[in-house]
């Protein structure tokens, strides 16, 4: 289920300086959003498995970019979450 505030955070980070604020002052950024303690911790810990189910995929792709993942890194990290990774690889050829 998509989470309004999680997506709002990622949407807002698109603005100028977003990448730097997220890198340098993550806790201060997080203070502006009413996250549950679990989601806040997942964001601090870069716990993609807890973040992914609640994020719009296009916003998540952007978020992974500003977290330093290139496309290959995002494909690897997201693919690792898939319950049937083999099926995915078969599908991807």
């Amino acid at each position: 289920m998509t989470d309004y505030w999680l997506n709002k955070l990622m949407f807002d980070l698109q603005g100028p300086g977003g990448k730097e604020r997220w890198r340098d002052d993550r806790e201060a950024v997080l203070d502006a959003y009413p996250f549950s303690p679990e989601m806040r911790q997942a964001l601090i810990d870069d716990d993609l498995a807890k973040i992914q189910p609640h994020a719009n995929p296009y916003l998540l792709r952007f978020y992974l970019l500003i977290c330093g993942y290139d496309d290959a890194g995002s494909i690897e990290a997201l693919g690792a979450l898939h319950p049937g990774k083999e099926e995915r690889e078969a599908a991807n050829g």
């Binding site: 709002k8 719009n56 296009y58 792709r61 952007f62 997201l78 693919g79 991807n92």
Partner: protein, 275 residues
């Protein structure tokens, strides 16, 4: 009365801009020649105005106000805000076509559609990658129309067929003697930010091409609807092609070219509908 002079579709992966300098030379050559070809066909139709359909990629709209359709009725719109677009398409603004935009909006309301409208839109890579690669610089006046294809629920393929037919009627009932072309951008298959990210679903793409070639509207709508359940999220953008298809009267589909393009993470295709 205005004249409908052609209908087109093209893919728009952001990496075509973001990684332009680093693409393999054969990929870049393919993009230059195929987008160039479609750009030349579009120019040959001599449109005065271009009606473009695309999804917005979290630039104009957020979950606090997510329109299904949004018609741009401004005299001016903003160029792409993404930093990676600035080097290749550094336009602060693009010209809109206020009165055609408003006419399409009013015809939409009269035909029982409920679009949002906007007097000033930001035109992201979705619209500007094809415009750039077509060599439309500066762009001709645009009526941008966004469809929500990023966070469900989306307008159904059936509804998009109806929208495309309505746009055609609106163009042909516009009282000025101008030439108007329709362009849909997006697709074909891709998967972005999902666990299947990077997946290019060639059988889906070939099936879509086959539907545009041969399927009557009701089969196109129902099969596409079913197929979209089982491909990557970017496939949703095929609805922009469906609108171009319906605007063309659902006939004359001519696939210019198609390749899976892993560097751009998309099945990359271009098409024209020949009257």
């Amino acid at each position: 009365m205005a004249e409908f002079v052609g209908s087109f579709a093209a893919s728009h992966g952001p990496n075509i801009a973001r990684n332009w300098e680093d693409l393999k030379s054969e990929t870049r050559d393919w993009v230059v020649t195929r987008f160039g070809d479609l750009g030349n066909r579009l120019k040959a139709a001599r449109p005065d105005v271009l009606v473009i359909h695309s999804t917005d990629h979290w630039v104009n709209f957020f979950l606090d106000a997510m329109p299904a359709f949004c018609v741009g009725i401004g005299a001016e719109h903003e160029g792409p805000p993404e930093p990676f677009m600035k080097p290749v398409y550094p336009h602060e603004t693009l010209p809109g076509h206020e009165s055609l935009g408003r006419h399409i909006l009013e015809e939409a309301f009269a035909a029982d559609f409920d679009p949002a409208y906007s007097m000033r839109l930001k035109l992201d890579h979705g619209m500007c990658v094809p415009i750039w690669q077509f060599g439309l610089d500066p762009a001709l006046p645009i009526v941008p129309i966004f469809i929500n294809l990023v966070e469900k629920p989306f307008p159904s393929p059936k509804r998009c067929l109806a929208w495309g037919r309505m746009v055609r009627r609106a163009i042909e009932s516009y009282p000025e003697d101008i030439r108007v072309a329709v362009l849909g951008t997006g697709g074909l298959s891709h998967s972005i930010g999902e666990t299947t990210m990077g997946w290019i679903d060639e059988p889906f793409d070939q099936a879509c091409i086959e539907l545009f070639r041969n399927a009557p509207d009701d089969r196109l709508a129902s099969e596409l609807d079913a197929m979209l359940e089982n491909t990557g999220n970017g496939g949703a953008e095929l609805r922009a092609w469906v609108i171009s298809h319906a605007a063309a009267g659902s006939k004359g589909f001519d696939m210019v070219d198609y390749i899976p393009m892993p560097e751009a993470l998309i099945g990359c295709g271009l098409a024209e509908w020949r009257a």
